[in-house]
């Protein structure tokens, strides 16, 4: 297994390296720069601008800058933001908890409702419930989550005024107020989990129907177990095993969706960091957040694969 882990990491490092190299080349061959004198008419002279570029180290050739950035990266340093002059590492660390709060809650919601809907539509296969859950699953993949967000804000925040329109907590509340945090979390977490619920429910349904056909289920029924026990203890347990890998594959969607969700709800997480970084052409922030999220997803996938082999002894990691 150690060999498996090592090989997976060794495979992804050079590609991540290539991604950073490619981004760097693109960055420096693209028109425009972090400092666009046209944005500050009259405020900044040519000399002053050159001075600023020099201070940021942007007047060096791109390969020197890249080497510098890589050297820092090897020492686990993501550099400093051009705009805020803060270490990117600190900026990510400050925003990571909010993103994790959102994504983990969404994942739990997606699991609970995905499994529930999946099991019910497998049991009541071919009924109206199954039909509705099928339509819901297709719609769940087709609806843009930011649009769903707008609709829910309109209904629950603008019209009914039950929930706040955005943010992670009410402004002015210093103390940690659970109810307040919960109210802020409901809408973003619901939206982010929506597509995943659709995905998981179809998966669980298909897997459960597959498992029910197995011989050991017939054996369990034949020895006179109650149908509920057969389904819950024998069938569902085995049907849920492959969900572990599906979880891993979904991490990428979760982090991607978080960017949009955080934008709609003014959620102070990593997603906002990268969007603002793009607007301000704050390259270290952009590169740092992208790389960090990629590493997070790669590690998540790896953990999911290892967990899969652990819960299902039939699987061997090679």
């Amino acid at each position: 297994m150690t060999q498996f882990v090592v090989r997976r990491l060794v495979q992804s490092i050079p590609v991540l390296f290539l991604i950073t190299l490619f981004s760097f080349i693109l960055m420096y061959s693209s028109p425009g720069n972090f400092i666009n004198p046209l944005e500050y008419p009259g405020e900044m002279g040519q000399e002053e601008m050159e001075m600023l570029l020099h201070n940021l180290g942007l007047d060096r050739p791109w390969y020197v800058q890249y080497g510098d950035w890589m050297w820092k990266l090897i020492h686990l340093d993501l550099g400093r933001s051009f705009k805020f002059r803060q270490p990117v590492k600190d900026m990510i660390a400050a925003r990571l908890p909010a993103t994790l709060e959102l994504t983990v809650t969404s994942l739990l919601l997606a699991l609970v409702f995905g499994i529930l809907i999946g099991v019910l539509s497998a049991i009541y296969r071919g009924t109206i419930f199954d039909g509705i859950s099928r339509v819901f699953a297709v719609a769940g993949h087709a609806v843009p989550i930011f649009w769903l967000g707008l609709i829910l804000i309109w209904i629950f925040s603008v019209t009914l005024r039950w929930l706040p329109t955005g943010g992670i907590k009410s402004t002015g509340t210093e103390a940690w107020d659970l109810w307040d945090r919960f109210k802020h979390l409901i809408l973003p977490a619901t939206i982010l989990s929506f597509g995943r619920v659709a995905n998981f429910s179809r998966y669980v349904r298909g897997e459960l129907l597959e498992v029910i056909r197995q011989d050991y289920i017939r054996t369990a029924r034949a020895k006179g177990l109650m149908e509920r026990v057969v389904l819950m203890r024998h069938a569902l347990r085995n049907a849920l095993i492959p969900l572990v890998t599906v979880l891993g594959m979904n991490l990428r969607w979760l982090f991607g969706g978080a960017v949009l969700t955080e934008t709609i709800f003014a959620w102070p997480g990593m997603g906002r960091l990268i969007v603002n970084g793009a607007f301000q052409r704050d390259y270290p922030v952009l590169m740092g957040t992208t790389l960090f999220s990629a590493v997070l997803v790669i590690v998540g996938n790896l953990v999911a694969d290892i967990a899969y082999a652990w819960v299902d002894p039939r699987i061997r990691l090679e």
Binding site: I19, P144, W154, V275
Partner: protein, 305 residues
């Protein structure tokens, strides 16, 4: 050589004529597709959308009588009326006209991006599956790693560096959406590669290029056709996400995503603005998925649930 070729083709055609099933393969596929009512409806809806997009300039001149980017501050936030069927936005532009012009950009980007993704992904997948070995391992490593970076992060990263013209956005979306196609085509190539007729072609002395283009690609084309629709749908969603973040289609040009982004700021004042572009995206993507599913079932009935 040519003479024998002709002769053999003639003789097979006479055998075919006597043994041919009552319906041809194409006809059977079309029939299967036709029986799938949901897919047929989806196709009709998409054709209507495409026609509306194609004729947007004519429609805006003769039917809606508005310009997509014409500001009229005296007519801000008007509710739907006889003059403005879907109302006006924050600077008095006609929503319906912008929706029609937005369709040109959103659908155009979707189509172009999917074509970029499919031609590149198809090429990479075919090469990787056909040649195998080290090249295959390398390509797999690249695909696996790219698939672990969230799409939207890569979109943002690339969009931040280039001037976001609609064509450029399509190329960006296509250039990071090829991995799925590559995997599918690779799988298809691996399945076909082991067949006897490929061996036969190799024995006759056909070169690799000819074998891939003439013998392998036609056999994975049904996979590609199905993926095309799913990819257009994905590209339309990507474009709308990027434009919604403000990094895609730039104002004043309308795209469905940028119209939604605009409506976010006026959610309290004009909530009706969120519906036209959102529903347009939703129904387009939904119909593309249904059509893709229907085509897959029609082309390869064995895949049906």
């Amino acid at each position: 050589m040519e003479a024998t070729g002709q002769q053999s083709s003639k003789s097979t055609s006479t055998i075919d004529a006597s043994m041919r099933p009552t319906e041809s393969l194409v006809r059977m596929t079309l029939l299967r597709f036709w029986r799938d009512k949901a897919a047929v409806v989806a196709m009709v809806v998409l054709i209507v959308f495409a026609l509306l997009a194609a004729t947007a300039p004519w429609l805006s001149e003769n039917v809606t009588h508005h310009e997509p980017n014409l500001l009229d501050l005296s007519k801000r936030f008007q509710l739907p009326s006889k003059v403005h069927w879907l109302g006006t936005d924050d600077v008095g532009r006609d929503v319906l006209t912008r929706l029609l012009y937005g369709a040109r950009i959103s659908l155009g980007i979707g189509l172009l991006a999917a074509m970029v993704a499919i031609s590149f992904g198809g090429f990479v997948g075919a090469v990787s599956g056909y040649f195998g070995g080290f090249l295959d391992d390398l390509i797999n490593a690249v695909i696996n790693t790219l698939l672990s970076v969230p799409t939207i992060f890569m979109l943002i990263l690339l969009a931040a560096f280039v001037r976001p013209t609609p064509a450029m956005i399509a190329v960006i979306i296509g250039s990071i959406g090829w991995m799925g196609v590559a995997r599918l085509v690779r799988g298809g190539v691996l399945a076909v590669k082991a067949r006897d007729y490929i061996l036969a072609a190799q024995v006759v002395g056909a070169d690799n290029r000819r074998i891939i283009l003439q013998h392998i690609l036609p056999n994975v084309s049904s996979t590609i056709i199905v993926v095309l629709y799913i990819d257009i749908a994905g590209a339309i969603l990507s474009e709308s996400s990027l434009s919604f973040l403000g990094l895609g289609v730039q104002p004043p040009d309308p795209s469905w995503g940028s119209m939604l982004q605009n409506s976010l700021s006026y959610l309290f004042r004009a909530p009706y603005l969120i519906f036209p572009p959102g529903l347009a995206i939703f129904f387009t993507v939904l119909c593309l998925y249904i059509l893709g599913d229907g085509l897959r079932d029609a082309l390869d009935p064995r895949l049906k649930e």
